[in-house]
């Protein structure tokens, strides 16, 4: 002990530390509200009328708009669009040095739907649309020229205009071929688009995409096709394939075999591919060829082993366009594959010697690996669960027979399909011509007059006059039984109208809306027996009841709920709504022979997941013996298909495989066959423009067939003219176009606060408190922590004088930096014509000024952009005579002081 204490005092210290080092969690202190005087305060900043104003920018703004306008604008002014093809840019393009120009189209994208989707109906008065070609137009110099609208050009005829839904293509070259001379010789080619409809039922103006739009696919384009005097090399196939056939000889074929097949469509990637098989039916071959789908007869070579055979010939026709120049063709063979023709390559045939074989054993060898009761690939012998009629539903005749095409089967029938076949026009109500009829009478199947109130027998045969005005079955859908919901029209409907109405329950807690129990300060208006602004109330309407409390409220009712509720509300008579018709064409039939498995009655053999086969004893499936199966063994492959198994294919020897043919009348080739399979071109014979290519083969094993591709090196054709096609909106990084909309430019005057793009009007808002202290001064105190969610800039829109397009306006809220450069303070936002006011949470923006991130606060600037209708005009309410007007712009702050 002594030793320990004397020499290990550090250990003692450590123990002490550990001993005393407990946790020191204590419960939070509750209350202590007097610790700080920091509280949430409300403060208003009104518009400083002396400094706030509408600002108007430079008038060149329209040059930078992404939209062009032509027609009668919403404010009644007329707009004309001008698009100029700049000769200073086009003059540098190759087309100006072209040998010939074949096409020069101007493509203009429109925002306005010129036509319907199917181009059948024009949404504009096309006859009042005038597109003219104006020579030597210079928009930059003439943008402010009031005479611009009087500029005359040559009207482009309708035949040179092509309209689609959102595109106009102007065939400039065919309208006036001299345009090429102009734009290649420093003369701009201007397009003037004017539109003056008289019919109010069509689009009154057309909005185009200008060359300033950001998406390149939306910019105006010049589509050009021209030919340059340049050397051009093209490669042309020297021939076409006209026939393929076996070469008959004493040694080949050994019996009668069907003709081979060659892919002779030059556009196919496998053009020249030859399939040398004894097809059962060559007419049923479809591309691309799948080996497993091929039905073959016998081998093409059975006994002629190790003997050279000239077995096949392909006839080619030389391309007449190059026949005079063609002096040689080099052929070669590729993709050659031979398929072994021995019987039972997989060794799965049943025989008396080998009774373990499953192919041709007279039994279905099926292992239902996934236990789904159906044959799936890899589960042995394929069989078809079509029932004893061995006929799928789709081919059943209805009389127990089976057809080769659909006859009685009709899964699309609408009568008796237990489904409503109704095409609503969007109003939620069945109308004549909308298909199968249904009535909104509820799932009881009868309307109120026929209702009994008895759940077991809910409907009467005849109407009961005593039911008038009642709902005996209680199935009427009713959300507002007392009919007092506010609709914005009838002032007598007061439920949910957003204001207190007499008889509506309220809490008599005074103007602050809080009871004395919370605030500990009783207000004068608290408990005065009448509703005062600020007091919470229940917006029940004058009946004092919310809908859910009103008698007969029924949100789950199915009658008159404007919704189809299933059986009971329709008769399932099909789209002809006639259940007694003799027309069976609309009957829903999915099992004409009525042999489908029924899990309730345990009847039917189709789809019963069992193989139903009544063998006559020969072990072979035959017609009339029930469900068919293929006795191909567990590999599921017939002997003839086994040749296509990967392990059974061989690649023939091709020798040097390059056959130089110099257009001789006859040219023979010899190849030294190897011990396996060798394939070669044995002879080429020319007869006029026809070249016949004979193929030789030698094999050491019987062949089911083979396939290979006949190839050649295409003919190289050299021309001194080269054709070009291009669609451009830029050349050498320079915009090919300049464009403007010509319309009246208004000079803003007055005290209105107006935001508008076309006249570049924006507003500059300064704010001050009741004492005249600016908001900027207030923000200099960084200790004030401004609430974001509860601090708002509120702007009321003067809807009577504003002109806001249905698409709305996108507003940008920012401020002008010391360099007068506009800087965004928040993401641009959309304001629609339906908005009465704009309430913008502004706390974080003001905090940004407070902390110096945005510099010092002077004012807030609001402007709009060109992304939507350029002529929308938003005027904000501002009563300069009454600065305290409730609708004047105001910043309402909540902050922690």
């Amino acid at each position: 002990m002594y030793f320990y204490l004397k020499n290990h005092f550090l250990s003692v210290l450590l123990c002490s530390i550990c001993f005393f080092n407990f946790s020191c969690e204590s419960e939070p202190l509750l209350g202590l509200n007097d610790l700080t005087e920091n509280t949430l305060i409300q403060k208003f900043f009104l518009l400083d009328q002396s400094l706030s104003s509408t600002m108007q920018g430079e008038s060149d703004v329209m040059l930078n708009s992404s939209r062009l306008y032509s027609g009668i604008l919403e404010d009644g002014n007329e707009a004309i669009a001008f698009i100029n093809i700049r000769s200073d840019i086009m003059g540098l393009h190759d087309i100006c040095n072209a040998q010939t120009v074949e096409e020069l189209d101007l493509v203009i994208k429109t925002i306005t739907d010129i036509t319907t989707d199917d181009l059948s109906i024009y949404n504009i008065s096309k006859e009042f649309l005038e597109i003219s070609l104006v020579a030597d137009l210079n928009l930059i110099d003439e943008e402010n020229d009031p005479q611009l609208e009087n500029v005359e050009g040559v009207l482009i005829l309708d035949e040179y205009l092509e309209f689609s839904k959102n595109e106009i293509i102007i065939d400039l070259f065919n309208h006036d071929a001299s345009i090429m001379t102009d734009i290649c010789s420093s003369k701009n080619a201007g397009i003037k688009i004017s539109y003056s409809p008289t019919d109010q039922g069509v689009e009154q103006f057309i909005e185009f995409r200008s060359s300033d739009v950001e998406a390149s696919s939306l910019k105006p384009l010049l589509q050009m096709k021209y030919v340059m005097n340049e050397q051009d090399t093209t490669y042309v196939d020297s021939y076409s394939i006209i026939d393929v056939a076996w070469i008959q000889s004493s040694t080949f074929p050994e019996g009668i075999i069907e003709v081979p097949y060659v892919i002779d469509d030059i556009d196919e990637s496998q053009w020249g591919m030859v399939y040398a098989f004894d097809f059962q039916d060559i007419d049923q071959i479809v591309l691309p060829i799948v080996h497993n789908d091929l039905e073959l007869n016998s081998n093409i070579i059975n006994t002629q082993m190790n003997t050279p055979l000239n077995f096949m010939q392909i006839d080619l026709q030389i391309d007449p366009s190059i026949s005079s120049e063609l002096d040689s063709i080099q052929f070669y063979i590729s993709n050659a594959v031979a398929f072994i023709g021995n019987q039972d390559l997989m060794g799965d045939n049943w025989s008396a010697v080998d009774t373990t074989g499953t192919e041709n054993n007279g039994e279905l060898d099926w292992i239902d690996g996934n236990f789904d009761g159906k044959w799936n690939s890899g589960e042995g012998e394929e069989w078809f669960d079509y029932g004893l009629d061995n006929c799928p539903d789709s081919l059943e005749t209805g009389a127990g027979g089976c057809d080769v095409s659909i006859s009685a089967y009709n899964p699309d029938g609408s009568e008796g399909n237990n489904s409503l076949d109704w095409l609503d026009d969007g109003d939620g109500i069945w109308e004549e011509g909308e298909g199968e009829k249904w009535e909104d009478i509820g799932i009881d199947g009868c309307e109120d007059a026929f209702e009994t109130g008895d759940d077991e027998n809910p409907c009467l045969e005849e109407a009961d006059s005593n039911n008038l005005g009642s709902d005996p079955n209680g199935d009427n859908y009713l959300l507002d039984p007392n009919g007092d919901d506010w609709d914005g029209i009838d002032l007598g409907l007061t439920e949910n109208n957003g204001q207190w109405d007499p008889n509506e329950p309220f809490f008599d807690w005074g103007l602050d809306g809080l009871p004395v129990s919370l605030t500990l300060l009783e207000e004068e208006t608290e408990g005065n027996g009448q509703w005062d602004p600020g007091e919470p109330y229940e917006d029940t309407g004058t009946d004092g009841l919310f809908n859910v409390d009103e008698p007969n409220y029924n949100i789950t009712g199915t009658e008159n709920n404007n919704s189809f509720d299933g059986l009971g509300e329709f008769d399932d008579c099909g789209v002809d709504n006639d259940c007694n018709d003799l027309d069976i064409s609309d009957n829903y039939v999915i099992d004409p022979n009525n042999d489908n498995w029924n899990a309730e009655t345990f009847t039917g053999t189709e789809g019963d997941k069992e193989h139903n086969w009544n063998d006559d004893g020969d072990g072979l499936w035959e017609e009339g013996e029930g469900e068919r199966f293929y006795d191909w063994g567990l590999d599921g492959i017939s002997d003839s298909q086994e040749a296509f198994y990967v392990s059974q294919i061989q690649y023939p020897e091709l020798g040097e495989n390059l056959y130089e043919y110099g257009m001789e009348n006859q040219l023979s080739f010899s190849v030294q066959p190897n011990n396996g399979i060798t394939l070669w071109i044995s002879e080429i014979i020319k007869n006029g423009d026809i070249i016949s290519i004979k193929f030789g083969i030698q094999t050491n094993t019987p062949l089911k067939g083979l396939q290979f591709k006949l190839n050649h090196f295409p003919f190289e054709q050299i021309s001194n003219l080269k054709e070009y096609e291009s669609s451009i909106s830029y050349h050498n990084d320079n915009n090919l176009f300049e464009d403007i909309t010509f319309s009246d430019h208004e000079v803003h005057e007055g005290d209105d606060l107006v935001v508008n793009f076309s006249n570049e009007l924006s507003i500059d808002l300064f704010f001050q408190d009741d004492d005249g202290n600016s908001l900027g001064n207030f923000l200099e105190n960084k200790e004030r922590n401004i609430s974001h969610d509860f601090s708002h800039l509120v702007l009321h829109i003067d809807k009577d004088n504003s002109l806001i397009h249905d698409d709305g306006m996108i507003l940008h809220l920012g401020h002008n930096k010391s360099s007068d450069e506009f800087s965004l303070l928040m993401n641009p936002f959309l304001v629609t014509a339906a908005n009465d006011s704009i309430i913008i949470p502004i706390g974080n923006i003001l905090r940004g000024f407070q902390n110096g991130n945005h510099g010092s606060f002077e004012s807030i600037v609001i402007k709009t952009d060109d992304a939507l209708y350029n002529y929308s005009k938003m005027i904000f309410f501002n009563d300069t005579e009454n600065v305290n007007h409730v609708k004047n712009p105001i910043i309402r702050l909540m902050y922690w002081e």
Binding site: K6, F9, L14, I17, N21, L29, L32, Q42, L514, N785
Partner: protein
Amino acid sequence: MKIILFLFIFNICFPQATNFPLYGVGELIGNQDISSIGLGNGTFYSGNQFEISSSSPSSLWKTPFTRFSIHSGMNYLKVPTYPEQFQHDLTHFSVLFPIGGHKAFGFGLKPAYRTNTIEIDQSFEFLGVNDVTTSLPIAYQKSFFLKGGISDLFIQYSFKFNPKLSFGFQYSFLFGNQTVDERRRAYEVNIDSTQSNQMAIYEFWHDDDLYYLYEEHREDTYLKNSNKFSGSRMILEGKYIYDIHEFTFRTSIDGEMMINRKDMQNTSDTIYYNYYDYKVSDNISELALGYHYKKIKNLGFIMEARINHPIDLPEAVSLFNKLAPKERSFHFGFYKRINNPKFSLWNNVNLRTGFYLKELNSNGNDFVDLGFTLGFGLEYLSNSQSIDIALRSGKRESLIVNDKFENYLSLHIGVMTGEKWFMKRRRK
């Protein structure tokens, strides 16, 4: 050793205030010598064999050993209607070396000002619709989480000038961080007398009906104010011994203190930082006088009077903008040493008791802190080692909670071990 250092550094940073020190930088921690605490929460005297108090530089020269001292304390605080608070941790660590005849040099670390780690959840407050920008009333609630303070890393030098007069100096590096995390929640609320599936944020009775406040919208604001302190303090102390009378004089001078403040505001996940620098000029922070009467060798009486001026912090840096109070205190203590007449493992047992009266002046208002102390010490192994325990119980008028008393009870334990390092030894 690394483990010890880690535990030591980790623990010393924690607080040990006796009350709710929600002002200034927290409570002035003062003396942490366990034996002196037992003597009426004094500073200068210890009542042990060598009469050394680690908190009195002028007494340190008496040590014949290299002394390691480590003190720990636990504090229990109870204020009526508030949850009990419990704090405990290491409070003092020092090393003292004798350097030649009647001289000593030491260093150590201890808290200087501390607020305990305190969490405060204030009650809901309400604003009516006529006082807010919203269409519904607003209920708001603030919570605070405080921690940190100023630590004192000191070096000490003590020497005996003549048989009657000795002096001690202490130079302290004052450093530390203090943070106040504040969470403000403002709710737009609906008041309803029916309970819904939505959880009510508040319930209240009004006219015999129970009402529920349901949140319609909420905005959270997080504030984090961090203050980084950096300063110094010089303590000058003299001791005069005349027969059985011993007088001690002391003054402390605070050097210039730099305060770097960082405020973080996070509203709706938008965060801003503000930085401020403050400088506090030097001033006299303490004046103290002590008297020790040794009636007989092992029995004595002590008396101390002290005035402490707080650091002259700007309001913006002070906790809740409240300045720390000026303190005046009187301490009285008695001790009795019981010596072991036998040669044994232990040498003597020290019994101590005392009381103190402290007056805190804040904004012209005086608050009284009255306390009673008991102490027990055991010295062993030729007085080279000791264990001291002190119990302090007091009652203090709360500066924070009006008309309430803060009742505190603290237990302090100290371990001192002496080693004959750095001493000349005679070789045989």
